[in-house]
């Protein structure tokens, strides 16, 4: 019983529940709010923020779990988004490796960079399994809008990911 409670109170259970909410927002609100006709990618932003704050390993795990959940609600092959987001989380986690002391503007810059890289990972993953990827000017617009939206929303998502993934101190 106590073991079950420990599992339920762990940050990974919290992560799955928070991801369900983020996923629901992605498939409802952010599917409809399309600045310049482009859907914002808050799942990508969540993974990026987790990676930037908690490093490569946790970034990769959050990306893999978030991607797996996302794959089950979209029509692309299951597992594809998981791999792409896992890589994105790991890439974001490199931030701590290079800059151990957080600087706010550097974090925003990293969010922008990882957003671009994350979208490219998705395209590469789709191309690798033979899904049609049309390389056109519109792709640049998609990447630019996703990056801009992610920068705007990132302060809020840093707070959400910190609350979700931080380990609680044991009280006696």
């Amino acid at each position: 019983m106590s073991r079950l409670l420990i599992i339920l109170a762990s940050r990974w259970t919290r992560l799955v529940l928070v991801l369900l909410i983020v996923l629901a927002l992605q498939t409802t609100l952010f599917k409809e709010l399309r600045p310049f006709g482009v859907a914002a990618q808050i799942i990508l932003l969540f993974v990026t923020c987790a990676g930037i704050q908690f490093g490569i390993n946790i970034g990769a795990i959050v990306g893999l779990i978030a991607g797996l959940m996302f794959d089950f609600v979209v029509s692309t092959p299951a597992g594809l988004g998981s791999i792409a987001l896992g890589l994105t989380g790991a890439t974001a986690g490199l931030y701590i490796y290079f800059f151990p002391n957080p600087i706010w503007w550097l974090r925003l810059l990293t969010v922008a960079f990882v957003s671009v890289v994350g979208e490219i990972y998705v395209l590469i993953a789709q191309a690798m399994v033979g899904l049609g990827v049309v390389l056109e000017f519109g792709l640049l617009k998609i990447i630019a809008v996703v990056t801009a939206v992610n920068i705007c929303l990132s302060p809020g998502f840093f707070l959400v990911t910190r609350w979700t993934l931080s380990e609680r101190k044991k009280t006696r």
Partner: protein, 356 residues
């Protein structure tokens, strides 16, 4: 700390392997992955429903702010179009009815004989890379993967994923979309031959090659049609009423003057570019294809759509060297950016149907 890192690395390896395995299985249309997807969808649907209810006011406010002027313009344009179309609709309805009667008379399948389900579009693709929409009807309504989806204007896509109460529709602009189509040439000059009086015309499946002439007057003209039963279609046997003596006038076109068709495959090219039709033969009989020629589905035992569903018109013909044949750019009849209600034809080709 070192133990934690080891556990995390194991978790990463495990999750990565799971993802690779899922990709492999899903690309082979594994029923297990479809089951997993369905289970997750069932669990996730209530959460999504709550989120939709909560966020709807925000979405409406966003639309109000960003689309107000566009809606005003569109509204006035639509009012003009409605006024123009009202007269044309009556004539078109009469033509469609006549066309379907003629098809039924000849034992040919018609779209009117195929059951359909109307569905509401409840969401667009959550990503910007795939052209899909989500509708609120699923397996419970008889929808299956591959069924064609239409709106009032024409074909818009096909069903790609089916859940109990919802489905995903791949739009015709998706790079993965392809379906066989036919291009109907209508630019030929036609001359009609008129025949006075026919004694009787019996069952015929072929168009006469030459005009019938010098047939004596008769009191009645009767046409009987035998229908070939095709699963999924309802063909009607019709008998034409007797025609008064001396007033019979039937127009029979020459076979060489009938419209000729050419088949190809339409493929999506993303939302920003028009779909294209490939594999059109450089046929002398067909002649040159011009802009404005209609494109309809070809049908056939392997095609996922029945024949003669309107897709659009040729907007540009790109000539290619060698034997590749021309490439046709298609302007779609349906407007894909503003879909609200769609119709799913409960049609499956004979090759897709499971034998009892």
């Amino acid at each position: 700390m070192a133990t934690n890192n080891t556990i995390r690395r194991r978790a990463i390896i495990l999750l990565t392997l799971t993802s690779i395995m899922l990709v492999t299985l899903d690309l082979q249309d594994s029923p297990q992955v479809a089951g997993l997807r369905s289970v997750f969808g069932t669990l996730f649907y209530p959460v999504e429903g709550v989120a939709r209810v909560i966020t709807r006011p925000v979405g409406n406010a966003w639309y109000g702010v960003t689309h107000y002027n566009k809606l005003l313009d569109e509204n006035s344009l639509l009012r003009q179009q409605v006024a123009q179309q009202e007269g044309a609709t009556v004539a078109a309805a009469a033509s469609v009815r006549l066309s379907q009667e003629l098809l039924a008379l000849n034992g040919l399948p018609t779209l009117a004989g195929i059951n359909a389900v109307t569905a509401q579009v409840i969401g667009e693709s959550p990503t910007s890379f795939s052209q899909t929409i989500e509708i609120n009807q699923g397996a419970e309504s008889g929808i299956r993967v591959g069924m064609p989806v239409l709106n009032a204007a024409g074909l818009i896509g096909k069903i790609t994923k089916v859940f109990t109460n919802r489905s995903f529709v791949m739009l015709i602009t998706d790079p993965e979309f392809s379906i066989s189509v036919k291009v109907v040439s209508t630019g030929r000059k036609t001359t009609d031959s008129t025949v006075q009086g026919i004694t009787s015309v019996t069952t015929s499946t072929a168009v006469p090659l030459e005009p019938i002439s010098n047939i004596p007057d008769a009191e009645t003209t009767t046409t009987t049609t035998t229908t070939i039963p095709i699963e999924g279609f309802t063909a009607v046997v019709t008998t034409l009423p007797a025609t008064p003596k001396g007033l019979t006038s039937i127009t029979i076109p020459l076979a060489s003057e009938l419209d000729v068709r050419e088949t190809g495959v339409i493929q999506g090219n993303g939302p920003a570019r028009q779909p294209t039709v490939r594999f059109i033969d450089n046929s002398l009989r067909f002649g040159s294809i011009e802009a404005g020629v209609p494109i309809v589905t070809a049908g056939g035992s392997r095609s996922l759509a029945p024949p003669d569903v309107l897709i659009g018109v040729v907007s540009r013909v790109v000539e290619r060297v060698g034997s590749a044949g021309p490439l046709l750019e298609i302007e779609l009849a349906a407007e894909l950016t503003n879909l609200s209600f769609v119709r799913i034809l409960l049609y499956q080709p004979i090759t897709e149907k499971k034998s009892p």
